[in-house]
């Protein structure tokens, strides 16, 4: 609606110099009549040109595929089966306690205490897992909002995203500097898009470096151990374990804190993400061909395999970055595989001790 220009003297009460009565303001609304399109008749499909003209959509990675819920029978089976197991377990435990009481009262109370402790611990674990899954979901929501704020240049949404980010990182010592830098331009007039980019630079860039080190360290370890483990089955197990550890570390680093189930869920998301983006990574496979079957492969078949596994780990790490980072990568910050490979072969010793694992 169109509102007339008004001036207020600061000394006076703002209500007093009312120049425009609401009715007058409405009159000016009527002025908007000569608009060309009777919009009511037409329903336009949203198109590219509806966006503000200078906005270009950043090249985003495809969304991780949501797991399609088709397994209702499977779910029924699982719940029924779990119910049975639980029943069996409780009956067994009750029986055990009864037996213990029958033997001696002290033993019985001791057993009850142990059971209570176990129950408490189980509850805590379940709670933690649920929280883990929630925090993963929170990060993925944040990602969506940050992306929306960036593409639509929405100032309010950007501010909301940043206050959420602040709550995610508020208890971390290593983020103090970044949070302070962010606080510093809180009240400045900055576009939504730029605000998100600033948060990315101030908060996430230091984390990106650590993430790169984690990925590089894991890849190196995987390469080396694949090359020296004697049996194939062992290195499959080993690679899997290392990758899970890496995923968890990455999620922790960006404030996701998944539990065990959360990490498995993340692994599933990473797998589908890789499946989606894998088709684009044509050059990577070329690298793998050369390293795996080429030079290194000629030197030693095992070493070649190791290198391939290492590269695979790097790729999993990069995919996990896309999923665990609360703000999607801006195009200029997006790391590429070649850069990481350089990291792996460089002998800069990295430590994963500086990343807390909870």
């Amino acid at each position: 609606m169109t509102r007339k220009p008004v001036a207020f003297r600061i000394e006076e009460k703002p209500e007093k110099p009312a120049k425009v009565s609401p009715s007058k303001a409405r009159k000016t609304t009527a002025k908007r009549k000569p608009r060309a399109i009777p919009a009511a008749d037409i329903t336009l499909e949203p198109e590219n040109f509806d966006l503000p003209p200078e906005t270009t959509l950043p090249a985003t990675t495809p969304e991780p595929q949501k797991v399609v819920k088709t397994m209702r029978w499977g779910a029924l089976f699982l719940s029924a089966f779990t119910g049975l197991v639980m029943l069996w377990a409780s009956v067994t435990f009750i029986k055990l306690i009864e037996d213990l009481f029958a033997r001696s009262e002290i033993l019985g109370w001791f057993g009850t205490g142990l059971l209570a402790l176990a129950g408490l611990a189980a509850l805590a674990i379940i709670l933690r897992e649920i929280l883990g899954i929630f925090s993963l979901r929170k990060i993925s929501n944040l990602q969506d909002q940050a992306q929306t704020a960036r593409t639509s240049n929405d100032q309010k949404l950007a501010k909301k995203v940043i206050s959420k980010l602040r709550s995610v990182y508020s208890d971390r010592h290593d983020m103090t500097w970044g949070l302070a830098a962010l606080q510093d331009h809180e009240t400045d007039i900055i576009d939504g898009r730029d605000r998100i980019n600033l948060a990315e630079r101030d908060l996430l860039q230091p984390l990106d470096e650590q993430a790169g080190q984690i990925i590089a360290a894991t890849s190196r370890k995987v390469t080396l151990l694949t090359a020296i483990t004697p049996a194939a089955i062992l290195d499959i197990l080993f690679v899997a374990a290392q990758n899970m550890k890496m995923l968890r570390q990455l999620a922790n680093l960006y404030g996701g804190r998944p539990g065990a189930i959360g990490t498995f869920k993340l692994a599933g998301m990473v797998a589908s993400h890789l499946a989606v983006t894998g088709g684009l990574a044509l050059t990577d496979s070329l690298v793998q061909q050369i390293i795996g079957k080429g030079l290194l492969g000629r030197l030693s078949a095992r070493f070649g395999e190791g290198a391939v596994n290492g590269i695979l780990t790097s790729r999993i790490g990069l995919a996990a970055l896309d999923l665990t980072r609360p703000i999607p990568f801006s195009p200029e910050m997006k790391p590429d595989l070649a850069e990481f490979l350089k990291n792996i072969v460089s002998f800069r010793q990295t430590t994963d001790e500086n990343v807390k694992s909870s």
Binding site: V6, F8, E15, P53, D184, D191
Partner: protein, 489 residues
């Protein structure tokens, strides 16, 4: 733009080769700052330089925010034949008396070309930068009146073509009223008769008056070539500026000694002695360009002013040599590879509506933008305030919340029935910018908007041993990042 001749091309190429060679030692960046008069060029440069030198708050200017810039300082400019941009003097005008800010005012308008070199020392990242030039960058800021750009199309126009176009433009409202005196005089002249200096002087005088009256706030028209008529500088009264369009019949030739011939000759010398040297020596050697546009004054004046601004800007932008540089073109025929269009004085409205202002500006420069995009030049539109004179406030009024700006309106500014004295603070609600930028052109906004000029803000002087106070700004850092950011490799 088509080069007017092989010689021009060669001279530009020579200039560029020289620049290229010196850039190998210490890279330099020629940043052109232009805009039609009163767009805020001087304030922009002053604030840009001040913010660079004093390392103020520029969160979006990445080299600064990441701490790559070690220091920045003013250095003697490379071209000795150009006036220096009087940075210190303009800064003093803007801040007024130290401490109280008394007598602070906006600096006078740009009347001539001037130049200023800022040298920045930074931590380089690339191998070449680290080892060859050691992280030094000269930024040569070239300030010139945008009106001169309106002259560039004259390079490709004959006197007869220009005459016809100018007379035609003067018949369109609201110019027809303003041009009445001059047109009635010029229609009485006999172009084919012997030249009479007195007639020429009178015609030029009336023509200049007409151009000057078009520029008044009330009309705020922009497309007024030839530019030197309004900013003669030391050429005032010289025959170069003593010509005017004549009402010529189609396909008429100029008999020698006639008024027509004299006007034709003077027009040709104007193009040769004023327009071409500017084009070859300065304009064709720019790397980056920022075009400042005072869209708000045009919105104040109404749809004709907007349409006129649109014309003027598309004329101006047709002269840019823009596009991506290849290695070869960067040596011989440098192009402007990034152009930023900035709607200045964005502090005259609340930041919530800045995106609408940007949309209106995008509409105004539509033609030019399309061209920039097809040539591959970087291109951006932004609402900025190089020196922010206001603060924002929300005021409840008539049951709704109005997003206002507060500041000290300049003396003589009027809103509604209020006239300001230049000392009282006031909160201003300037009206709603339209959601659909096309409304700005179709006249449906009459009286719905009024933007008030404010006095410059009071800048508190630095305390002893403290860094100089920052000049507040809106999105200046964003503009700097766009224009300069990628040079700090």
């Amino acid at each position: 733009m088509k080069l007017s001749g092989l010689t021009d091309g060669t001279r530009i190429a020579l200039g560029n080769v020289g620049d290229f060679a010196s850039d190998l030692v210490t890279p330099s960046l020629r940043l052109g700052v232009t805009g039609l008069s009163r767009a805020g060029k001087t304030v922009f440069i002053t604030s840009l330089v001040h913010n660079l030198i004093h390392q103020s708050r520029l969160p979006l200017f990445t080299p600064h925010a990441k701490g790559h810039i070690k220091r920045a300082y003013l250095e003697p400019q490379p071209d000795d034949d150009l006036p220096r941009f009087a940075y210190e003097q303009h800064l003093k005008t803007l801040t007024g008396q130290a401490g109280t800010g008394e007598n602070r005012q906006w600096p006078h308008s740009t009347r001539r070309l001037s130049q200023l070199r800022v040298t920045i020392e930074y931590t380089p990242q690339g191998f070449f930068a680290r080892n060859i030039h050691g992280g030094k960058l000269h930024i040569d800021i070239i300030d010139y009146p945008g009106e001169w750009l309106l002259d560039l199309p004259l390079l490709n126009q004959s006197y007869e073509q220009w005459s016809a176009a100018t007379i035609k433009a003067s018949t369109i409202a609201p110019r027809d009223k303003l041009a009445k005196d001059w047109r009635s005089f010029t229609e009485k002249l006999q172009p084919e008769e012997a030249a009479n200096e007195a007639d020429a002087v009178k015609a030029a005088q009336l023509f200049t008056d007409y151009l000057a009256s078009c520029r008044d706030d009330q009309y705020a028209l922009s497309s007024l070539p030839p530019g030197r008529f309004l900013m003669p500088g030391d050429l005032e009264g010289s025959p170069l500026l003593t010509f005017a369009p004549l009402a010529l019949e189609a396909a008429s030739t100029a008999p020698s000694g006639s008024l027509h011939a004299m006007m034709q000759r003077r027009y040709a010398s104007y193009v040769d002695h004023i327009v071409r040297p500017f084009y070859v020596n300065h304009f064709a050697r720019l790397d980056r360009q920022i075009v400042l546009v005072d869209a708000l004054s045009a919105l104040n004046a109404g749809p004709q002013a907007i349409a006129d601004l649109k014309n003027a800007l598309s004329d101006i932008l047709a002269s840019f040599r823009q596009g991506e540089n290849s290695i070869l073109s960067s040596i011989f025929a440098k192009r402007i590879d990034k152009v930023l269009f900035a709607a200045t004085k964005a502090d005259m409205l609340h930041h919530e509506t800045h995106d609408r202002l940007e949309n209106i500006l995008s509409l105004i420069i539509e033609d030019a933008a399309t061209r920039a995009k097809t040539t591959g030049a970087g291109f951006d539109v932004s609402a900025i305030a190089a020196l922010r004179a206001t603060r924002e406030a929300t005021i409840e009024h008539g049951g709704e919340k109005l997003a206002c700006i507060t500041g000290i309106p300049a003396k003589g500014e009027v809103i509604g029935s209020d006239t300001f004295d230049g000392n009282t603070q006031a909160a201003i609600f300037p009206g709603d910018l339209p959601e659909d930028p096309a409304d700005a052109l179709d006249g449906s906004l009459t009286d719905a908007l009024h933007f008030v000029r404010f006095r410059p803000p009071v800048i508190k002087p630095a305390k002893p041993l403290q860094p100089a106070p920052a000049l507040p700004h809106i999105r200046l850092d964003r503009a700097m990042q766009f224009l300069l950011g990628d040079y700090f490799q």
